[in-house]
Amino acid sequence: MTAKITFATIEAGAGLKAALGKGRADIIGELSASGIKGRGGAGFPVGVKWNLCAAARGESKYVVCNADEGEPGTFKDRVILMEHADLVFEGMTIGGYATGAREGIVYLRGEYAYMRAHLEAVLAKRREKKLLGKNAAGKQGFEFDIRIQMGSGAYVCGEETALIESLEGHRGEPRNRPPFPVDTGYMGRPTVVNNVETLAWVACIMAKGAGWFKSVGTEKSTGLKLFSVSGDCKNPGVYEFPMGITISKLMQEVGGEGAKAVQVGGASGHCVPAADFGRTIAFEDISTGGSIIVFGKGRDMLAVARNFLDFFVEESCGQCTPCREGNHKLLEGVTMLAEGRCSMAYLKELMSLGETMQLASKCGLGQSSSNAFLSIVKNFKDEIMGRATQGSLTHRRQGADHG
């Protein structure tokens, strides 16, 4: 499906060339006008972020590409980096020019180590063509280069402040915000952290203009978006759709008709039951970084909830209590449900705990870790309650537990 992606139709270098012909304020103005929001999931307006970083004072500034794509069900960045890496580097270079940064860093997740040689080769070619380095892309006085640093298998490092901690050689524990990275980021310097897809879109917007980008999508969620579709559908893969697409339309396109539910936004997203398939995927309705996991008729939703909670128990950085302890408690609750020994009163306690985690956790991981559990309990009560003691889950786990 990747052939359909707009990125393939953008002429190499067109975005960078157009951007370098403009003033810094004009680039940021164009991005603001396009209405593009961060494609990683949080949806922060790119123009605002770049403007803050450009306005911040600092001897050196940095542009960081967040390639720590760890959200369950997300793999669009993998495809972008393998097939359109030039566009991403172009976006970073534009970011360097617009914000005044001289160094770009790609934080590539450890699981994608096999991509590194390819990306280094692309960078080497760009240096050869003088698109990086001193007087980059023929712009006098503009210096910018990009290096790659590897992650080491920690989901939480996709959170921008944890990512910066990791870049600096520390445990990937999120920082308190504010101060935000645009003021105090990598090495305490102003830093822009953007998702892989966002940076590629930036290059496209520079090449084709804000109007082109804005012509699709909704008023609050402009443009096209890449979706990673997996699970019970005929054609899993990477798709490009305008923002604001309904879930039912998306299901038709990927061959997922008759699905019982769809997980939008990965483990930290929401489980949407078939009755709500008329809802749209957009920042103002159901927000996502692009992960779409389809659950067919026969799927056990409690097993799904358990899988997600297993994930968060493992990936919580352990820094704050609601996330560290809360996920353990929710997982325990899923086991009780599976064994048919969870009272309604206790289930309500668990739901209230889930809501507390949303409010009291320090970072985005903790705040969203109970989303899947809460939405599954809310929408599938009849399925998950009153189970027989010999639940299938308890048998399935035996002997296959992790060490």
Binding site: E69, G70, E71, P72, G73, T74, F75, D77, R78, R109, G110, E111, Y112, A113, Y114, Q149, M150, G151, S152, G153, A154, Y155, S166, L167, E168, G169, H170, R171, G172, M187, S228, V229, S230, G231, D232, P236, G237, V238, Q263, A267, I293, F295, R299, V304, N307, F308, D310, F311, E314, E315, C317, R396, G399, A400, D401, H402, G403
Partner: protein, 172 residues
Amino acid sequence: MLVTERERLRDDIQAMADRMGRKRDALIPILQEVQTKHQQISDYAMQVVADLLDIHPVEVYSVVSFYSFLDNKPKGRFVVRLCRTISCDMAGKEAVARQLMNDLGVCFGESTKDGKFTLDWANCIGMCDQGPALLVNEQVHTKVTPEGVHEILEACRKTFGVYAQEKKEERA
């Protein structure tokens, strides 16, 4: 002069530090290389890194213990990491997991006695459209079947021991 294992490790790490710098931000890249080369980051290695970067060894330990791709205990020459996250789970990772345990004779989190293989879980490795997926060191395998497990392991085995010898002879 006899070069002990420790001296070799020390020289190795020193060379890495010379190449990557001795500032704190070089810590993780150095540890990653030690892990890849020596399949573990021993207590001694952590002490050497700490000395070179002029930080407390516990700082190094705190980083090693945080990241799942860095390990204080020895890992096998080949680390097999099967993705256990939802899409691979739904695509049938459980049968692959059982076959991996059967073929290697170890449970998840353990290494084979000959120190060649470590079996472990991975969280989402970004191959959700082609599950079940697993990593062997840096290499990714997709749409793995229980039957295919044997082939993957066999390809690893052919790089050492008597098989490697046979291959060498073939080439000669």
